[in-house]
């Protein structure tokens, strides 16, 4: 491999890795928010996002209804939020009792959602594009597409609004307090349930947004989105699993690392690579790669 070839390859790889990494980060943010507030690892995250993406497909493609893309997304968001509330309601009785039992219960919810997708939409593979005009332009060695810009804009908007909610609103203050010390908060009269509900709803929205943006690069089937969530889980682990900025940065790191691995090593072993990343991170950086750089705040 020549140096010139390396330079020609590396910039586009970094760029596209960053773009998909933004989405892994958005997926990871949903996991981390739920984990921070309720100490539950939400294994139904990917299944719910998958169901949401299928609802968008079903309502906009004509297989169920022929709505516009935007109204299909609005409907899907509503359904995803309703399901998130129901999932939380199922777990609520045991959420303070046992982390592991509630984590098992999220797996059960995930299986139910997975079955629902297969039941309604079958095992078909479908395409679900973003309704953005297609154009490309070059920025040095990097080709920037309208899809890339859409991902960046949506990610910045959603991360920005999350930041504003957490930093500026009463709910956000409560969320930060709960994730630092739930018991003290209960003593102070903060309502833990409403904070939990907020994080579960935010998780559902973040998961669905990530799914809608990632699906155009591959295709939509009952298994692609849940397995895409492995990237989100890895991003969360890399970020320390209880740090929101960590999750976002972890997403980008995972995106870039995956791109490099699949280009230079072996694209068919992506999940094994992620397994290795998780194990190495847990061993050497149990609190996340960025522990010192940003800490666990927010």
């Amino acid at each position: 491999m020549s140096v010139a070839g390396f330079i020609r390859d590396i910039l586009p790889l970094l760029w596209s890795g960053t773009i998909s990494g933004c989405l892994y980060g958005v997926g990871a943010l949903g996991l981390v928010m739920v984990f921070k507030s309720s100490r539950v690892v939400n294994f139904s995250h990917g299944n719910l996002a998958c169901l949401g993406a299928f609802v968008v497909f079903g309502f906009s493609s004509g297989s169920l209804l022929s709505l516009s893309w935007a109204s299909a997304v609005a409907l899907a968001l509503g359904i995803a939020c309703a399901i998130a509330v129901m999932s939380y309601a199922v777990i609520a009785p045991i959420v303070f009792k046992s982390d592991l039992a509630s984590t098992i219960a999220t797996l059960g919810v995930g299986l139910i959602l997975q079955g629902a997708v297969q039941l309604v939409f079958g095992a078909d593979i479908v395409n679900l594009d973003l309704p953005v005009p297609r154009f490309n332009f070059s920025l040095g060695a990097i080709r920037v597409s309208s899809y890339d810009l859409a991902v960046l804009v949506v990610t910045l908007a959603i991360v920005g609004s999350l930041f504003v909610i957490i930093e500026r609103t009463k709910l956000g203050v409560a969320f930060r307090a709960v994730s630092t010390n739930p018991f003290a908060c209960e003593v102070c009269g903060l309502n833990l349930r409403s904070v939990h509900l907020f994080s579960w709803l935010a998780g559902a929205v973040l998961g669905l947004v990530a799914a809608l943006l990632i699906v155009p690069t591959t295709f939509l089937s009952s298994t692609t989105v849940p397995s895409f969530m492995l990237q989100a889980f890895t991003a969360a682990v890399v970020g320390g699993f209880s740090s929101l900025p960590g999750a976002a940065v972890g997403g980008i790191l995972v995106g870039v690392a995956m791109n490099l691995f699949s280009f230079y090593v072996a694209p068919e072993f992506m999940n094994t690579f992620l397994l290795g990343v998780i194990l190495l991170t847990l061993n050497f950086f149990p609190n996340g790669l960025l522990e010192r750089a940003i800490g666990g705040r927010v």
């Binding site: 984990f35 045991i94 009792k97 046992s98 592991l100 219960a105 299986l111 297969q118 039941l119 072993f269």
Partner: protein, 326 residues
Amino acid sequence: MAVSDLAHASKVSASARGGHVDIARLSVLALVAVLALLPLLAGGFLLYSLSLSIANAVAVLSVSMLVRYGGEVSIGHSFFVALGAYAVAIVEHRLGLSIAVSLPLAILLGAGGGFIFAFPSRRLSGIYLAVATMALALALPEILIGFEKFTGGFEGLYIAQDLVPGVSKALQRYYVTLVVLIVVCLALAHFRKSAQGLALLMAQAQPRAAEAMGITRSWARISIFTVSAALASLAGALTGFASSTVSPNSFTFFSGVFLLVGSVVSLNRLSLPAALVGGAFITLVPTYLAKAGDWVPILYGVALVAVTLAANAGDLRRFVPGRRAR
């Protein structure tokens, strides 16, 4: 040790002075007798499914053991099951040796794999381990397909060698797996009373007190996962033997989740009846509800949620340990 030890160990010691123990022991003995005579009644596909149920019962026990003694959840035990199953197939294909050789090898491979996997998260809360097992479950299919040269890729491999010559294949599959399951249950009953078993239970219930007795948290986490993975790999060897074939089809992402379902449905108990309930649930439900295929995940999911909620609401509070700090 008698076969009657198969009844749940703690139940035996709790009522060692009562009259219930005889009833419990007798009913387990009766169950063993019924299982031993079952091939007289069932044949063909039913016997084949029963053999697989028994092999899966051992796999369910490996997950239950992890929950009971480690307070940990794994959705990636399918990895270790596959390790054992492919060990049997590859040893037969490459070396021409039967399960008599590959079964012990599978146990060793499982223990080694479990150790390597558990080591990185030895100091962290069980939740990190659960996340890592998810990656394990998702990595498994691509490893099986990617190392086509050894694993036979999508098609998988056949396992043809018998263990006992002169006995029909169907009966071999059934009795070999049954005998191993009974031995495993006896070994688990013995383990409950062993120094290691007691130490693990203490480390889970009272980590700080256990530490003061010289039982470190990392020791507990690594040992229980190693032992449990070894058991899962043994179960895999049986699964391979009982089904005469291994292929990536039997090891999707969901196989690991299903093993957890089997464990939860059997209330994470380590007795012979519980293992059979768990094994049969995850084997027979998909087999006999094949037409309602898409309903299976929903059924499993509902079972998982319902049993978890019921177990935690009622008196089974030790089902999983309480909240733990990192």
